[in-house]
């Protein structure tokens, strides 16, 4: 019997279809807020659905001279990476469906599977712009991965457990944003680095390298990649919300928390200029990693002193 319920929860409700729909809605919220900050009306609510459906119905062109298995396989890999990471994350205000000790680390690496597959897709393509886009997204991956991980480890250490379910339960009782404000800031900025939102969108800088790694993709490949990115947006935002903004209360409250983070992110997107790739890496390594390490150090001292 639980095969049917787990199949249902995998395919339909919290993980599969509902996740994709909420991913598209979050992406619409992000685009609408950025447009409103720029004094524009912005897209209608069903815009991401129309984009994805149109892309799926478009003809797919595979430029010659590149490995077709990789060309068709990587978008699928990217989307599956993003979808599976949702299994352990508290999405849509529900406690995670499955959890096992140490699933925090697995989720984070499943999330960066998308960036790695996009980098590989860019590297595989023949156009110079995808190659440059791929190198940029991989260099940026190494830049923000460490501080982002450390920022999420803070609450895990505070709750001294590695499973997301326990950490979010622990975070439910005390608001970690107050005790670890630096951790929250780094997690937020790390989130924008992972999702390659401006000011960290050098890998797909439209005016320099057109669409970076995705320049060659059209039709289905492009649809799967954009879908993967919006699902990643949902998963990462709910992870940070669950850890820092007081766990998963009732679903409505959790929805407000995630939308609060999306609002903050779109404000930063509208406010800041895109940084060159060497400036982003410099920023991450000089401030990001340092502050995150400091935060962990302080946390361990405090825990040691308390215990």
């Amino acid at each position: 019997m639980n095969l049917l319920t787990s199949l249902f929860s995998l395919m339909i409700f919290p993980a599969g279809l509902a996740l994709i729909l909420s991913g598209l809605l979050y992406e619409w919220a992000d685009r609408k807020l950025v447009a409103r900050f720029q004094n524009r009306v912005g897209p209608r609510w069903f815009q991401p659905f129309a984009d994805i459906l149109k892309l799926l119905a478009k003809e797919e062109i595979k430029p010659s001279g590149l490995d077709s298995a990789l060309f068709y396989g990587l978008p699928i890999l990217a989307l599956t990476g993003a979808l599976t990471s949702a299994l352990y994350a508290p999405i849509l205000g529900l406690p995670p469906i499955h959890s096992f000790p140490g699933d925090l680390i697995v989720t984070l690496y499943l999330l960066s599977l998308l960036t790695i597959s996009m980098g590989l897709a860019g590297w595989n393509a023949s156009s110079r712009f995808s190659v440059i886009g791929a190198t940029r997204s991989l260099t940026q991956l190494f830049a923000y991965e460490a501080p982002f991980l450390l920022a999420l480890l803070g609450p895990a250490i505070a709750a001294n457990s590695w499973t997301i379910r326990d950490v979010s339960a622990y975070a439910g009782s005390h608001w970690l944003i107050l005790t670890q404000p630096v951790g929250f800031v780094i997690a937020l900025i790390g989130l924008m680095g992972k999702l390659e939102l401006p000011p960290f969108d050098a890998p797909e800088a439209e005016t320099e390298i057109v669409a970076g790694a995705l320049t060659e993709y059209s039709g289905r490949g492009l649809a799967l990649f954009t879908l993967g990115k919006s699902v990643e947006l949902v998963v990462a935002v709910s992870l940070v919300a669950a850890f820092y903004l007081g766990g998963i209360g009732n679903p409505l409250l959790f929805l407000l928390k995630t939308l609060g983070i999306v609002l903050l992110m779109s404000l930063l997107q509208a406010l800041l200029t895109r940084l060159r790739i060497d400036q982003t890496v410099g920023l991450w390594w000089r401030f990001g990693a340092l502050l995150a390490l400091l935060q962990i150090l302080v946390l361990i001292l405090v825990k040691g002193w308390l215990a």
Partner: protein
């Protein structure tokens, strides 16, 4: 399943046309224009006109685009690039000629380096005269094209000479 086959197919057809009409991604190419029409096209993206409310996004790569908005009287040097961009756009694709130069050569008719009409190089779906047309007139042109697509008129597949003959 076969009784619902035609219904399913019709429903899918309507859904795909709905998606195509509601998210027309645009790519802009200046084939020799004086920039008057180009700055009006760009003005449609800015807050006062904001075409993102129709789902129109300016894309940099021909791979991602559905509508090629082309300006200028197609100089001889730009002709091959124009063909190449059109070749690289996935089906179904549409071409909008903006400005009197693109439709008839405008004030540059008879210049030695100018071909004159975009529809001599590509199959054009919509013409927007004006020198330059106002941003509202450009939006009006694109809305007319989208309404035409809405009525289910399939886009003319690439009927132009293939790249080999064109080179």
């Amino acid at each position: 399943m076969n009784i619902t086959q035609p219904h399913l197919k019709k429903f899918m057809e309507r859904m795909v046309t709905w998606a195509r009409v509601n998210s027309p991604w645009v790519i802009h190419f200046n084939s020799g224009s004086c920039n008057g029409c180009d700055i009006e096209i760009l003005a449609t993206l800015t807050p006062r006109y904001d075409v993102e409310r129709f789902g129109i996004k300016l894309r940099g790569s021909p791979r991602h685009a559905d509508v090629l908005v082309c300006t200028g009287p197609v100089t001889r040097q730009a002709r091959e690039r124009l063909l190449r961009i059109y070749e690289q756009m996935p089906e179904p694709k549409f071409v909008v000629a903006v400005g009197s130069c693109g439709i008839s050569g405008g004030v540059f008719q008879g210049c030695y380096n100018v071909i004159g009409h975009i529809d001599e190089v590509l199959p054009v779906n919509a013409f927007i005269p004006g020198c330059p047309p106002r941003p509202e007139a450009i939006i009006d042109g694109i809305v007319k094209l989208l309404q035409h697509v809405q009525q289910g008129a399939p886009a003319p597949l690439a009927t132009l000479p293939k790249l080999q003959e064109a080179v």
